[in-house]
C-alpha cells in the first residue's frame, strides 16, 4: 500500500530539531553568518554533535541510530534555516573514507572527533584547471624522509579558513596522468606553508583558494595507499546520499508568502492581487513536487536502493525551480525586492533578494544542471555516454 506520510518518529524529531534551532541558532548568529559569509560555527556544530546529529546514521554508544526518514527530516529542518552544517557534511564525507581505507590512527583518533563535532574537514579537490574533470589536477606531493612535501593550489575550499583539516587529492607520481598516481591526505590547516585566501560568491558566502607551498606532512596524515587516491575519492563521491535542495525553495516560498500576506504601506495585502496568487501557486506546486521527489529518494535509501538518478533528478528539479521562482517572486515584489538584508529599507528582510542570488549558485555547485541531465539520460533513459 502506498503511504505518503512521514513516520510518527520523524514528525517527533522535526519538533525536537525546531526547538534545538530556536535555542542554538539565535538571530545574532544568523546575522553574523550572513555578514561574514561563513558556513561554519564551532559552537553550533558542537551542540549538534552532542545530540549525535552530525552522523545520525552512524553507530555511537548511547545514541539511537536514526532511520532514513528521520535523517531526512533532520537535514531538511537544518537546511531550511541555513544552519551552518556544511563543515559537518564535508567532515563526514571524509570520515567515511578514512573509516573505509584509512590507518588506525585516522580511524580511531580523527573520525570520532568528526562525529562528535570537535573537528571539521574542508574539501580540497577542485583546482583552477580541474573542475568537473577532477583527474586533471596538478597539485603534487613528493616523498621525503619521514613524510611528504606538498605543493599546489585548490579552488573552492569552503571553510578552508575555519576547518581543522582539508581533504587533499594530490599527484604523488609525477610521471602519472589522469586517474593514476594520485594519493589522498588529511592536511592540518595550521601547518606552515598553508594559506587560505578568501573568495566570495555572488550570494555572499565565503569560500577560499588554498595555497600549499612546501608543506611538510608526516606520513600518518596519508589517507589512501600511495597511488590509490582516485579510488578513495570515488568512495567519498559514491555516497549517493545527496543533500536536500527543496528546503531552499521552501525558504523562498515562505518568505514570499510572508511578504504577500503582510499589508503594504498603502494598507493593501498583496495576496489579494491575482498575479501574486498566480506566482505563489506556481512556486508552491513546484515545492510540493520537489518535496515528493526527495521523500521518494529517502524511501529508496531506506529500502537500501541506490537512487542513482533520483538524487540528480531532485537536485535538478529543485534548483531549476529555485532560479525560476526567485526571478518570478522578485518581479512580484517589484523594485524594492532588490534591496539587500543589510539595507534598512529592505523588503521581506532582504531575503528574497538573497534567494535570487543564492539560487544562481545552486544550479552549479555539486554538479551543474548539464551534468545532472547527462546522468539522468544515461542512467534512466539508457542513452550512451559521451
Amino acid at each position: 500500500m502506498m503511504d505518503f506520510a512521514w513516520t510518527a518518529e520523524a514528525e517527533a524529531l522535526r519538533t525536537e530539531v525546531r526547538s534545538f534551532l530556536a535555542e542554538h541558532l539565535p538571530p545574532e548568529l544568523e546575522e553574523r553568518l550572513y555578514d561574514t559569509g561563513d558556513s561554519h560555527d564551532a559552537d553550533f556544530v558542537k551542540a549538534l554533535g552532542e545530540r549525535h546529529w552530525i552522523a545520525p546514521d552512524w553507530p555511537r554508544d548511547g545514541f539511537p541510530r536514526l532511520g532514513a526518514e528521520e535523517v531526512h527530516v533532520l537535514e531538511n529542518e537544518l537546511t531550511r534555516v541555513e544552519a551552518p552544517i556544511y563543515a559537518c557534511s564535508t567532515g563526514m564525507m571524509v570520515a567515511k573514507v578514512m573509516h573505509a581505507v584509512g590507518s588506525d590512527f585516522l580511524r580511531d583518533e580523527i573520525v570520532p572527533k568528526v562525529v562528535r563535532g570537535e573537528v571539521t574537514i574542508a574539501l580540497g579537490m577542485s583546482e583552477p584547471e580541474a573542475g568537473s574533470d577532477v583527474a586533471a589536477i596538478q597539485s603534487r606531493a613528493r616523498e621525503v624522509d619521514g613524510g611528504w612535501v606538498l605543493d599546489g593550489q585548490k579552488m573552492f575550499t569552503t571553510n578552508g579558513h575555519l576547518a581543522d583539516y582539508v581533504f587533499m587529492l594530490v599527484r604523488t607520481d609525477p610521471e602519472s596522468e589522469r586517474h593514476r598516481g594520485l594519493t589522498t591526505f588529511l592536511v592540518p590547516l595550521d601547518l606552515e606553508g598553508v594559506e587560505a585566501q578568501a573568495v566570495f560568491t555572488v550570494s555572499g558566502e565565503r569560500t577560499n583558494i588554498t595555497y600549499y607551498s612546501e608543506v611538510f606532512l608526516e606520513d600518518r596524515w596519508r589517507i589512501s595507499e600511495v597511488g590509490a587516491g582516485w579510488h578513495s575519492l570515488m568512495l567519498a563521491l559514491q555516497d549517493e546520499h545527496s543533500a536536500p535542495f527543496s528546503p531552499h525553495l521552501a525558504r523562498l516560498v515562505e518568505r514570499a508568502e510572508g511578504w504577500a500576506t503582510t499589508p503594504g504601506p498603502d494598507g493593501a495585502v498583496p495576496i489579494e492581487r491575482e498575479d501574486v496568487r498566480r506566482r505563489l501557486v506556481e512556486a508552491a506546486v513546484d515545492l510540493e513536487v520537489a518535496e515528493l521527489l526527495e521523500a521518494r529518494t529517502t524511501w529508496m535509501e531506506a529500502r537500501g536502493d541506490v537512487p542513482v538518478a533520483e538524487g540528480p533528478m531532485s537536485k535538478l528539479y529543485s534548483t531549476e525551480a529555485g532560479v525560476r521562482h526567485a526571478e518570478s517572486l522578485t518581479a512580484m515584489v517589484g523594485p524594492d525586492a532588490l534591496r539587500s538584508r543589510t539595507d534598512p529599507t529592505a523588503v521581506a528582510d532582504g531575503m528574497i533578494e538573497h534567494s535570487l542570488r543564492f539560487s544562481l549558485g545552486m544550479t552549479i555547485y555539486a554538479g551543474t544542471s548539464e551534468v545532472q541531465r547527462n546522468i539522468i539520460a544515461q542512467q534512466r533513459c539508457g542513452m550512451p555516454r559521451g
Binding site: 502506498m2 505518503f4 513536487v289 515528493l292 524511501w299 539508457g382
Partner: protein, 327 residues
C-alpha cells in the same frame, strides 16, 4: 512512508498492460481512426473488471481503491485505449448495467454547457449521458435526447458529437457525489496523462537509440540527451503527484483532496503535452507525420487536458485556495 506498489497492484498493472497491448496494439492505430468503440472491445474491458473497479464487490465490482484505479488508467493512457472508459467507471455505481458492459456512459461537467448544447465524446455510441452539475448528478438516456450531430474529434481515435438540449434527466447523485466524481475524474484523467507522458518518453528513447546519424545513435548528442532527461523528470514529477493525489482520495483525511487533485492534473497535463511535443521533435520529420505515434499521443494529451479542468482552470483553483497552501 511507502512508495512501492504492493504485489496485488503490480499484478493488476501487468494484467492490464498485457490486455491493452494485445487488444489495442499501437502498431495498428490507423485501423482505429475515427472508428466507434467496438462492441467486443468494450465487453472485454468489462470482463477484465475495468468498469467496475470502484464498485463494491457486493455489487458485482472489484471494490478497489483509487490508487489501483490510477494504475489501470495509466495503462489505458499508455496504450491509447479508446472509448468513454473513465466516464463509464465513474457512472458505474450510479447507473445500472455499466459494470457488465451492458451500458456505455459518457459524460460532461455542467461547466462545459453553453447555449444548452453539450459536446460529448462518443456521443452517438453511448447509452446514457451523465451530467455532473455543481450540486447534483443527472443521467440522461440517449434515446430521450436529440440525435447527436457529429463533429471532428481532437483525438482521431475518438468520435465526438454535439447534443442540442438535455432536458431534465434522472437525478442520480447529490452535491457530495458530484464533488466526488469531479475529484475522481480529475485524478484518473491525470493518470491517463501520466501514461501518455511515459509512452512519449519511451517512443523518443527507442528512436534515439535506433536512429543513427554520422555513425552514432542520435541519443549520443547532448541536445537529444537533455530533451530526454527533461521528459523523464516531467513524467516522474507528474506521476509522483498523481499517485499522491490518488492516495489522498483513498484517505481523504490525510490531506486536501481538491488541492492534491488539482496539482496532479496540472502537472500531468503539462507533462503529457510537453512530452508528446518533444517526442515529435526527437523523431524529427518522421515524428511530424500523422501516422506515427507522437501525433496520436499529442492529440490524446490535448483532448484529455480538457477533461475535468484545464491546466489554467486548476491553476486558478489553486490560486483561489492559496491560503491553504501556506506552510
Amino acid at each position: 512512508m511507502e512508495f512501492r506498489l504492493d504485489e496485488g497492484q503490480i499484478e493488476l498493472q501487468r494484467t492490464v498492460a498485457r490486455f491493452c497491448a494485445d487488444r489495442f496494439p499501437l502498431d495498428a492505430l490507423a485501423d482505429r481512426e475515427g472508428r466507434p468503440v467496438q462492441a467486443d472491445d468494450w465487453q472485454a474491458l468489462a470482463d477484465l473488471g475495468v468498469l467496475g473497479l470502484l464498485v463494491p464487490e457486493t455489487d458485482g465490482g472489484s471494490g478497489l481503491g483509487v490508487v489501483d484505479a490510477a494504475l489501470v488508467f495509466e495503462q489505458l493512457g499508455d496504450h491509447l485505449v479508446p472509448g468513454p472508459v473513465l466516464w463509464s467507471l465513474l457512472a458505474a455505481p450510479l447507473v445500472g448495467d455499466v459494470v457488465t458492459g451492458g451500458c456505455m456512459v459518457a459524460g460532461v461537467e455542467s461547466s462545459a454547457l453553453s447555449d444548452g448544447a453539450v459536446v460529448v465524446d462518443h456521443a452517438a455510441e453511448i447509452d446514457v449521458l451523465l451530467v455532473v452539475h455543481p450540486d447534483h448528478v443527472s443521467a440522461h438516456r440517449l434515446a430521450d435526447l436529440p440525435a447527436p450531430v457529429p463533429l471532428d474529434a481532437v483525438d482521431p481515435l475518438a468520435t465526438v458529437g454535439r447534443i442540442n438540449g438535455l432536458g431534465e434527466g434522472d437525478r442520480v447523485g447529490d452535491a457530495a457525489t458530484a464533488a466526488q466524481l469531479r475529484l475522481l475524474g480529475t485524478v484518473l484523467a491525470s493518470a491517463m496523462l501520466v501514461g501518455v507522458s511515459d509512452r512519449s518518453l519511451r517512443v523518443a528513447r527507442d528512436y534515439a537509440l535506433e536512429r543513427h546519424q554520422f555513425g552514432v545513435p542520435i541519443g549520443s548528442f547532448q541536445a537529444i540527451k537533455h530533451l530526454l532527461a527533461d521528459m523523464y523528470v516531467r513524467t516522474q514529477c507528474a506521476q509522483s503527484a498523481m499517485y499522491a493525489a490518488a492516495a489522498v482520495l483513498d484517505d481523504p483525511d490525510s490531506s486536501d483532496p481538491a488541492r492534491a487533485a488539482a496539482g496532479a492534473k496540472l502537472l500531468a497535463a503539462d507533462a503529457a503535452i510537453e512530452n508528446a511535443t518533444t517526442a515529435i521533435q526527437v523523431l524529427g520529420g518522421m515524428g511530424f507525420t500523422w501516422d506515427m505515434l507522437p501525433n496520436h499521443l499529442l492529440k490524446r494529451a490535448w483532448a484529455t487536458e480538457q477533461d475535468f479542468g484545464t491546466i489554467d482552470d486548476h491553476a486558478a483553483h489553486l490560486g483561489a485556495t492559496i491560503d491553504a497552501m501556506a506552510s
